[in-house]
């Protein structure tokens, strides 16, 4: 934390000397990774693990879609029995939510970037950071083992009383979620302390990159909401093991109380998933438009606003549960308040392109795809937030399509955009831009083909979590399955593009895109200590003195 004491007026950093040393080659051997305190290596390990989880969750999703190719009205002809189908969609949801989306951006990209964007050496508590990673690994192994060994079939939401009497390994799975929750809390805590105490001189709150604002807002939710999930999981385990009678109607408990507990975490968790994605898009839109972001303060404030409002809207998951009318109405009203900050962000991102210099490279194409998909995701939320239309659409495929547009079209696409954007920084290799754009195009078309038909399925009355369906839904289901295969292909192309670059990619320059934030001032990949001397802090969105140098194929900051 000594960086904080460095004076504001540092001499121009002389980074050339450290160019050869980088964090990947700094030390070698298994233990140099397993016991590393370097936030970059921890970030990379997280990245590997969450991508593996994503691949697993993706295969499960494809199994679901392939099963639904046929209506399965005759269960003996179906690919999977109803019970196995239920286990597959439960696993898909649980793996994607707990092992992929929640840790993806904060733990993988956030870990790598946060200290570098702050111009510091590491996070505030490097050991706690490594501890979070191992908690994640332990929780994930526990969770996966318990689910695969005996087959959890409660849905990722663990709704009572089914989760109390289900024969699946509910207690083991809840313990896995409990441990994963602590990993999330520690990461959040670490980031909050790092941002509060380790900003370099000159970096006031409003000179912070918007990605850090997003990570900061996310960290607040992680620290405040995740304990409630932990408590809920403990209560559920206690209900199953000891029969304490809080959720089980047979013992005068209230099953709806569980839903309140669960969504008090899990709705804010939606913002744990989307806020960092919004942060990435703010960076991508301005860097690749080579133009200062429109409405910096509005975006920063709206991140905080979303984080706070996000705590007050959990009831919209329960509009049909028979809550009191007043409660239902208040939750509906609060739900609409969240839509405004999200809308403002979209307008700001589009406005940022105006009169800029737009580079249509892979990260930018992903960012544009994000705006398209996230806008659909956000607008379809209006149908679900309005009470009377929700009575029809609740728990149908409309909801499935809506949250996939937000979670997958939003978070995943932004994550991929961010991954391509910072890939040269993380690995020191440039990827094939054309292949990257092709992957984005296939993902975009495949995604829409998968989920647009699901909106129509929903309005026509197809309930979610069904292993079989009426014949009239078959055509739309088949379109969706074709889209899913296409989507999987696009993601495979993206993965191959990145893997290819590791072996055949050209060496990445320091600043391949022309970014003005601090991570572009250290070499690619960064040295072990990130900066040999503290970098000068400027406006993170001032692109006026950033020039292209064809000799290195990258940008540099004019002195």
């Amino acid at each position: 934390m000594s960086v904080v004491t460095k004076p504001v007026t540092m001499p121009a950093p002389n980074l050339v000397a450290g160019e050869e040393d980088n964090y990947l080659t700094h030390s070698s051997g298994f233990l140099s990774w397993a016991l590393t305190l370097d936030h970059k290596r921890i970030g990379l390990m997280y990245l590997t693990c969450v991508m593996a989880s994503f691949a697993l969750g993706g295969i499960l999703a494809l199994l679901v879609r392939i099963h639904l190719w046929n209506p399965n009205l005759d269960p003996t002809q179906a690919l999977f029995s109803n019970k196995v189908y239920n286990q597959i969609f439960t696993l898909h949801g649980a793996v994607m939510v707990f092992l992929f989306i929640i840790p993806s951006i904060p733990a993988a990209l956030g870990n790598f970037l946060l200290p570098i964007m702050l111009g510091s050496k590491d996070v505030a508590f490097p050991r706690l950071n490594l501890g979070s990673f191992y908690l994640w690994v332990a929780g994930a192994l526990f969770f996966l083992f318990s689910m695969f060994a005996t087959g959890l079939d409660t849905g990722w939401t663990f709704y009572t009383p089914y989760s109390i009497e289900s024969q699946g390994p509910v207690v083991a799975a809840t313990m896995g979620v409990f441990v994963l929750g602590f990993s999330s809390i520690f990461t959040g805590l670490n980031f909050i302390v790092t941002i509060n105490t380790m900003r370099p001189p000159g970096m006031t709150w409003f000179r912070m990159p918007l990605f850090l604002w997003a990570i900061y807002s996310t960290a607040i939710i992680q620290v405040l909401a995740t304990p409630v999930l932990g408590i809920t999981m403990l209560l559920l385990a206690a209900e199953r093991i000891l029969g304490i009678g809080i959720f089980d109607a047979k013992m005068n408990g209230d099953p709806v109380a569980f839903q309140h507990f669960f969504w008090f975490y899990s709705h804010p968790a939606v913002y744990i998933m989307i806020l960092p994605a919004m942060g990435i898009i703010s960076e991508l839109m301005s860097v690749h438009s080579h133009k200062g972001i429109l409405g910096y303060r509005m975006i920063a404030y709206s991140s905080i606003a979303i984080a706070l409002f996000g705590f007050l809207v959990w009831g919209h998951h329960m509009f049909t549960s028979g809550m009191a009318d007043v409660t239902t109405i208040v939750f509906s009203a609060l739900t609409f308040t969240v839509s405004i900050p999200s809308a403002i962000k979209v307008f700001n991102w589009i406005g940022t392109m105006y009169q800029g210099t737009v580079s249509l490279n892979t990260p930018m194409v992903y960012a544009l795809a994000f705006i398209f998909l996230f806008t659909i995701g956000g607008l379809t939320g209006l149908f679900l937030g309005a009470l009377s239309t929700d009575m029809h659409l609740h728990a149908t495929y409309f909801v499935v399509a809506h949250f996939h547009y937000v979670m997958m079209g939003g978070t995943l696409v932004a994550f991929l955009g961010g991954l391509f954007h910072w890939w040269p920084k993380m690995t020191g290799k440039m990827f094939n831009d054309f292949a990257g754009i092709v992957s984005a195009a296939i993902v975009f078309v495949g995604f829409n083909l998968t989920f647009l038909p699901q909106f129509v399925l929903g309005t026509r009355g197809m309930p979610r979590r069904y292993a079989s369906y009426a014949l009239e839904f078959q055509d739309l289901h088949r379109l969706s399955t074709i889209g899913a295969v296409m989507l999987g292909t696009g993601l495979l192309v993206a993965a191959l593009t990145l893997l290819h670059s590791l072996f055949y990619g050209s060496k990445a320059p320091r600043n391949p895109w022309g970014g003005a934030t601090l991570e572009w001032e250290c070499s690619s990949p960064p040295p072990h200590d990130n900066f040999s001397s503290a970098p000068t802090v400027g406006d993170p969105y001032d692109f006026s003195n950033i020039e292209y140098d064809p000799k290195v194929g990258g940008y540099f900051k004019k002195k």
């Binding site: 009383p161 406005g351 009377s388």
Partner: protein, 329 residues
């Protein structure tokens, strides 16, 4: 594939038939939000595409690097969506209160019992039936309870949905406007056979409905028929299949079981006879069958079935014959 988008199976592209008094208002709000969404979405995407072409990075072009500020526009695009969101909220609220306010006097009250994975409807004359019949043009009130886990009562054609929560009664009502047959789905995940927990809703004319009630109250005289009648109404059907095709549900199938030895989970065997059936109805876990250790536990029917009803069920199970006893997959 394409016909899915133009097919005649639905009344409109988006919705099933508008078969209740709520449907028109719900669909109106849906359409209104759809047009509002298009109103925002099209310019957003158009601007995005236009900007990425017009301001694309190309030789000889250099755009501005300065962030633009325009307070008027920023205020406008914050305030206008706020008002629109407020309007949508208000319309949703009005529609919701319509559904929540007490139904018009003189409703047809029907008790709904949801039990994995069956629906059972109890009518005012005491009749029980696994399908829902309601008279057209008259408000019908559902008084719903669950015997086990969460379920949800969903009729897309009526645009209504209400969860059924164990431990309390939940209510919903609707006024069907068009005679016909509609789908009823369970829309809250309830375990293995959630996807088959469906029923039909018959919206009948006044006469047809009266005839149905008179018919439904009559319990069959014949013991086997009576057993089948109970089998369909007492939630046996959802788990224990009785078809000749040997399909296996979450619980052991009846077909071809009678008189055969039953392997038990704890080891050993027991004869599938009157004693075994009767004991399994009253105390299902006493002799759990091998291969069903991980199945959802069957609830006890003690106090819910009378002695002679159990006899009828035994007669029904005994009557099911099959050359080959079904084997679990």
């Amino acid at each position: 594939m394409i016909p899915a988008f133009f097919a005649d199976i639905n009344e409109s592209f988006w919705f099933p038939k508008q078969a209740s008094t709520f449907a028109k208002d719900v669909d109106f709000l849906y359409d209104a939000i759809l047009w509002i969404s298009i109103f925002f979405f099209v310019p957003i995407v158009a601007a995005m595409i236009y900007f990425s072409i017009k301001y694309r990075d190309r030789p000889g072009y250099k755009g501005s690097t300065e962030a633009i500020h325009n307070t008027t526009i920023e205020i406008l695009w914050s305030v206008i969506p706020t008002f629109i969101a407020g309007w949508i909220f208000w319309m949703g609220l009005v529609g919701y209160l319509d559904m929540q306010r007490p139904p018009p006097a003189g409703t047809e009250d029907i008790k709904v019992i949801a039990k994995r994975w069956n629906w059972n409807f109890k009518y005012k004359n005491g009749a029980e039936h696994p399908e829902l019949h309601v008279p057209v043009g008259k408000a019908a009130k559902m008084i719903m309870r669950s015997d086990d886990v969460l379920h949800s009562f969903y009729v897309p054609a009526f645009r209504i949905k209400r969860d059924i929560v164990p431990g309390r009664y939940n209510y919903t009502w609707f006024q069907p406007t068009i005679e016909g047959t509609y789908d009823l789905f369970c829309s809250e995940y309830c375990g293995d056979n959630h996807s088959t927990m469906n029923a039909k809703v018959f919206v009948d004319s006044e006469e047809k409905y009266a005839k149905f009630l008179a018919e439904a109250i009559k319990e069959p005289e014949d013991l086997v028929e009576r057993g089948k009648w109970l089998y369909e109404r007492k939630a046996c059907k959802g788990c224990h299949y009785a078809g000749k095709d040997g399909a296996q549900g979450p619980g052991p199938s009846y077909n071809g079981s009678w008189g055969k030895p039953v392997p038990l989970a704890v080891g050993g065997e027991v004869q599938f006879d009157e004693n075994y059936v009767s004991e399994s109805i009253l105390n299902p876990i006493a002799k759990a069958r091998k291969g069903y250790e991980n199945a959802s536990a069957m609830p006890s029917y003690k106090g819910q079935l009378k002695e002679e009803q159990i006899e009828a069920l035994i007669a029904f199970i005994k009557s099911l014959e099959s050359a080959t006893p079904p084997t679990k997959k």
